[in-house]
């Protein structure tokens, strides 16, 4: 949780109704003090497509939601930690319906190239299935495997392998508007 969400949560505690999650509030109308001739510029409301929120970016997804889940050696089942991250990913995708996702599966360098491609595909698919079970439309998620071709870390011991056995969700805004 970051500092910015705390006031919103406080507001929720005070007014429990309609506070399932923080909703960006429209800014109040403002008057341009320099436009004295002609009565100034008066705010007439938000543009169609909603409020531009910093949350609706691939970068926010990557850094604040968390785009990566890790797997134990030779495993493709999701750990509790991975499921927690994926629940947040699913919620974000639910809030931002114009984004699609590609889940990239990866494996550590030990293991043959071809088996690792298949292993990475299983990991990506495990992520996809979880996101779909959380309500994300299947058509919004594609998977692919990089096997051991794109390690996150390059050392050859468990400290790096543990970070390379991963699935990374990459979101892209596909539709017009926000």
């Amino acid at each position: 949780m970051n500092a910015a969400t705390k006031p919103a949560l406080l507001a929720c505690l005070l007014v429990m109704a309609a506070c399932v999650r923080p909703v960006p509030q429209p800014a109040p109308p403002v008057v341009d003090p320099y436009a004295s001739v002609g009565g100034g510029a008066v705010f007439q409301g938000d543009l169609a497509g909603g409020v531009l929120a910093a949350e609706a970016t691939a970068q926010y997804f990557q850094t604040a939601i968390g785009d990566t889940v890790l797997f134990p050696a030779n495993q493709t089942t999701l750990t509790p930690e991975a499921r927690a991250v994926l629940a947040n990913q699913a919620a974000w995708l639910g809030r931002h319906g114009t984004f699609t996702a590609v889940v990239q599966g990866h494996a550590e360098e030990t293991g043959t190239r071809e088996y690792n491609l298949a292993l990475g595909a299983r990991r990506a698919s495990a992520v996809q299935e979880y996101l779909v079970a959380q309500g994300v439309a299947p058509g919004r998620i594609r998977t692919l495997s990089f096997g051991k071709e794109r390690p996150a870390e390059t050392c050859s011991d468990e400290a790096c392998y543990a970070k390379n056995r991963r699935a990374v969700t990459v979101v892209t805004q596909s539709g017009p508007g926000a």
Partner: protein, 441 residues
């Protein structure tokens, strides 16, 4: 007797243009013979005095012949400084006593002449021990630019006559060049002579490419490419360096392709919903069907030389093991039972052996076993060895060896099927995923 053969001018020649018998010459007694068995430790000694003719090209051809032969580990060259005999011409009678005196068991005499863009190479092989020619003399005519191939042809003849095995020097290897940092590797496919010479690039660096596989005639390559953003199989015509997608299946990843021995079929791994199975495609029509349908990973198919069976890798037992199946469905037979994880099986062109990658603990090996799983033997051991490919005669295996760490790199190595003569290929760049093509006609 002297035989004259013309080396086909193009690097790539139609399979019908066969000009050279692939095997050792028939109807020749072979009094001088090195048997390749596990027990051989002493190489045969061979003298290869300076070739006659045009000195510059003759010296280059001689060096390639010598490198081919000594590179097998089966032959040791008697250095020129030790030679007593200095024959004045190619046709001069051999003074066997002089060669016996320097302990040469075999002797190669040759002459290379150049006329414009063409060269002629003539050679004879002598059994110094019994004091007689071994097989016919032969002449190869070639374009001067193909001088290395002419040299490989001579070395192939000598190798075949002295070992009784089919040769492999005049052959090519497809591979992947690797540049850039480990976490953003740039890969491109090349084709080279078996010894690393005459590199031709088949792809640029724009998309990630993996694991090229030669067609049995050496004219096409199958490989996995990410050019669409997703792993799919492409097929490349080597002579025109033009490729097209073989699979383009939204929602199904395709990888690990391999040709059938007749070049008609392509077996590969098709992944859907996280599950990889082996599929078989008719390369001409694109029609395809699944050969396995298991919830486990099935990958790395390789055909038997008769095209009737496929060896592959599956983790249906929990860890990856090797299995053999027919093309008509039916339950695969597991052939690997040792400790560790087995992968990338490749059927020997002789049909008798299967080479594979094996991981035991944190070490990797290239190994071989008979097709029923017996006689398992490790040929190598390192931090990471993988992906064996057979020389066309089934005597040598080439593979990828990767060094560990952030600056770790892959290098191509070869090893004799007996486990001797491990050597890195002489390349000045990192490379992986070798695929050894056929002996060229």
């Amino acid at each position: 007797m002297f035989r004259r053969l013309i080396l086909a001018p193009a690097i790539l020649i139609a399979a019908s243009a066969v000009l050279l018998p692939a095997g050792p010459l028939q109807a020749q007694d072979a009094p001088l013979r090195i048997e390749i068995t596990d027990g051989v430790i002493e190489p045969m000694t061979i003298a290869i005095p300076a070739f006659h003719g045009d000195a510059e090209i003759a010296a280059r051809v001689r060096q390639v012949v010598a490198d081919d032969l000594t590179g097998t580990g089966l032959f040791r060259e008697i250095p020129a400084e030790a030679h007593l005999a200095q024959p004045a011409s190619f046709s001069e009678a051999v003074s066997y006593e002089d060669w016996r005196a320097v302990n040469a068991q075999g002797l190669v005499a040759a002459e290379v002449t150049q006329a414009g863009d063409n060269i002629s190479v003539r050679f004879r092989l002598f059994d110094v021990v019994s004091g007689q020619p071994q097989g016919d003399g032969m002449q190869f005519d070639a374009r001067a630019s193909d001088w290395r191939r002419a040299a490989h042809k001579i070395a192939d003849q000598i190798y075949a006559r002295l070992t009784g095995e089919k040769p492999y020097f005049d052959s090519r290897v497809a591979f992947v060049q690797e540049t850039g940092p480990k976490n953003a590797r740039i890969k491109r496919i090349g084709v080279m002579d078996y010894d690393g010479a005459n590199i031709l690039w088949m792809t640029d660096s724009s998309s990630l490419v993996l694991a090229p596989k030669f067609s049995p005639d050496g004219q096409r390559l199958l490989y996995t490419s990410y050019d669409s953003g997703f792993p799919q199989i492409r097929i490349m015509d080597v002579s025109t360096v033009s490729s097209r997608p073989l699979t383009q299946d939204d929602g199904a990843m395709a990888f690990a392709p391999t040709f059938s021995p007749d070049g008609r079929w392509v077996a590969y791994s098709r992944e859907q919903g996280g599950n990889s199975d082996i599929w078989l495609m008719d390369g001409a029509t694109g029609a395809q069907r699944a050969l396995t349908s298991a919830p486990s990973i099935e990958t790395s198919p390789s055909f038997s030389p008769d095209g009737q069976r496929i060896v592959f890798e599956s983790d249906r037992s929990g860890a990856p093991q090797l299995y053999i199946m027919g093309l008509d469905g039916g339950e695969p037979t597991r052939i690997s039972f040792g400790d560790g994880r087995y992968g990338t099986p490749v059927w020997s062109p002789k049909g008798d052996m299967i080479a594979f990658t094996k991981q035991i603990g944190e070490r990797f090996h290239i190994g071989v076993m008979r097709t029923d799983g017996s006689g398992e033997k490790m040929l190598t051991e390192s931090f990471l060895d993988e992906g064996p490919t057979w020389a066309p005669n089934g005597r040598v295996v080439m593979f990828t060896r990767v060094t560990p760490g952030g600056t770790g790199q892959p290098r191509l190595h070869s090893v004799d099927v007996t486990g001797r003569n491990m050597r890195p290929l002489d390349l000045d760049f990192a490379a992986s995923d070798p695929s050894w093509g056929p002996l060229l006609p």
